[in-house]
């Protein structure tokens, strides 16, 4: 194991229902793993725990030697793309990039450089001056992914990243994710569309009744 993602006996109960029951798995660095499952299976809950948005009831999670409980360090390692687009739809795409870079504490000169380089990014170059509210579902998804990639996170958590995306958007996003894997980034993708996961991922885990199935 090359100090990748390590999850052991993870449990979580929400509103009286045990959503995750002693989940355990390991993911090496530089891989893409998929998590499939029906709606309500607990995929988002699992990713939110890994994103440190929710606190688990029990279990142990670490990545690259950093424990999940070490919140500040953990958050410096991860990138999280939530299920919703979760961007202010009044802002243009380039303003969105500048805003989230500023929220990360990036100085103004660097923010300008980020926006400049984004003009050449195939994921968003076509619509960088469009307000988010005028973007199609696929465009908004691509913008959301780019925001999630800020800071070049070592562990990338994606919750239904292809939802509402057209074929071209899906292809562009998958190419970007594969490129990141080649750069030794670790990626975990949750989706209920197993065919997309099968194409993209090195391994797919099926979440059902609080457990992972099909674990190799």
């Amino acid at each position: 194991m090359n100090e990748g993602l390590y999850v052991r006996n993870l449990t979580k109960t929400l509103r009286g229902t045990q959503v995750l029951k002693n989940l355990s798995f390991e993911q090496p660095k530089g891989t893409i793993y998929g998590i499939s499952g029906d709606n309500g299976a607990g995929k988002s809950t699992f990713l939110k725990i890994l994103a440190s948005v929710l606190i688990p009831d029990g279990g142990h999670v670490s990545f690259s030697g950093v424990d999940l409980s070490n919140k500040a360090q953990w958050r410096s390692l991860i990138g999280y793309v939530p299920q919703e687009v979760a961007l202010d739809d009044r802002l243009r795409v380039r303003e969105t990039l500048a805003f989230w870079a500023a929220v990360r504490g990036v100085p103004a000169s660097t923010r300008r450089a980020i926006v400049e380089s984004a003009k050449g990014d195939p994921l968003i170059a076509d619509f960088i001056d469009k307000p988010i509210r005028e973007c199609s579902g696929g465009m908004a998804r691509r913008a959301s992914l780019v925001v999630g990639l800020f800071g070049d996170p070592a562990l990338l958590l994606l919750d239904e990243p292809f939802s509402g995306a057209d074929a071209r958007s899906r292809t562009l996003m998958m190419e970007r994710l594969q490129h990141l894997r080649d750069r030794n980034r670790t990626i975990l993708v949750a989706s209920h569309v197993e065919t997309t996961l099968a194409t993209l991922c090195d391994r797919v885990l099926h979440l059902k009744d609080g457990y992972f199935h099909n674990v190799d």
Binding site: K48, A51, S52, V53, L54, I55, G65, V66, K71, A72, Q73, R75, S76, L77, I78, Y80, P82, Q83, E84, V85, A86, L87, D88, R90, F99, W100, A102, V103, R104, G105, V106, P107, V147, F150, G151, D152, P153, A154
Partner: protein, 416 residues
Amino acid sequence: MERTSKNRDGVITVPASFSERMRSFLAIFRHDLRVARTGLLVVILLFSVLVALIVPLFNRDDKLDLLRTQLNFSVSIVDEEDSFFGKLFVEVVKDVQYLDKVHFDTFEKAKERLDRDETILFITLPPDLFQQTRTGSVKEPVQLYLNPRKSMEAANIATLIRQYYFAVNRVYGTVFGYQKEHEKMGGDEDESWRQTTKHALSSMAAYFAKNRFVETGRSPGKSAIFHAISGILILLAFIPAMGVLFQTSRLRGTDLEDRMTLIAGRVAPAVSRLMTGLIWWIVLVIPILVALRVVGILQTLLPIALVLLGVYLAGACFMLFVGRANAPTVTVYQVGWLIFFALLLFGGVFYPVSLFPVWLRISAHFTPMYAPMQAVFTALTENGSVPRNGILLSFWAVPPALALAFIRIKRKHSCG
């Protein structure tokens, strides 16, 4: 591994140093301001026009005097016999604070004044009143003629006058022995009765001056206009707190909040909302304070501004707490507005708390808006000055509200 804000390529991932945190906070604050920009500009424009229209109206001495005038009233006394009692009566009642002016008129003149609304009532003293009071046998009573166009005010003053006469009887009884002693010493019965009557009226007038017959807060002793302005100021200082509630509740539990929390934590967005509310507070409150300064009602703005700041901070912190309640957004809004109006009602903003039943009146004194309302009212009537304890009392609700907000923000059902 040491805590760092940059990954191995030197790219900032989450703000960690002070300057990074400040940049992060300012970005959120600027964004919140940008969202509120249109509303702020509209309100600034609207208030500018309103202030420009209203200030010249009140910026005249007579109008200002009207505002400053307490709710005092004029009465006429008709004493055709020009009796000792009538003169004495006028002499002692002219210092009573509720009576602005006492006219000594004929019946026709008094009626004329009443018709012109110069007085709210007139009193006719029977020719043998002095004799009646000495013997205690009333043949012809004192008559009160009330102004039908000011029936409420006239009824209040009539009640006072009736209390006055009741008091005369009581005091007369207590000083009867004094009259006997005076008669023994001087031998002049008429003079002894005069002295006794004068003493009785003076004693009773002294009690009037001390408000002994009117419960504090139940008399129209101050300008109702100032009460209305105080209420408006408290309302405007509190309204930005409702904006804090909307923003907090709208974002609670959303993916956008999760995304923000992971990068900036929970405190920076909450502080940004408080600061945005503060900008709203400045836009809503300061122009009115400046207008009151321009027309001369306030000589200084700082004390009243501090009091109103306390109103906003207490309200905003409490709404941060309410806004994070684990309930549907609509329910949170409804509860927030209910709390808003309840606090204003029990603070005496809509009605003076003196109108409440005693138990409710006492309870209202411990609600967060009561002390600020009293302080703002004092400031308006005292050229802007507020006692230091008045300012401090206006802030009493801020620490507990802040503690509630902080506990809720940092609550451990989710990472913060």
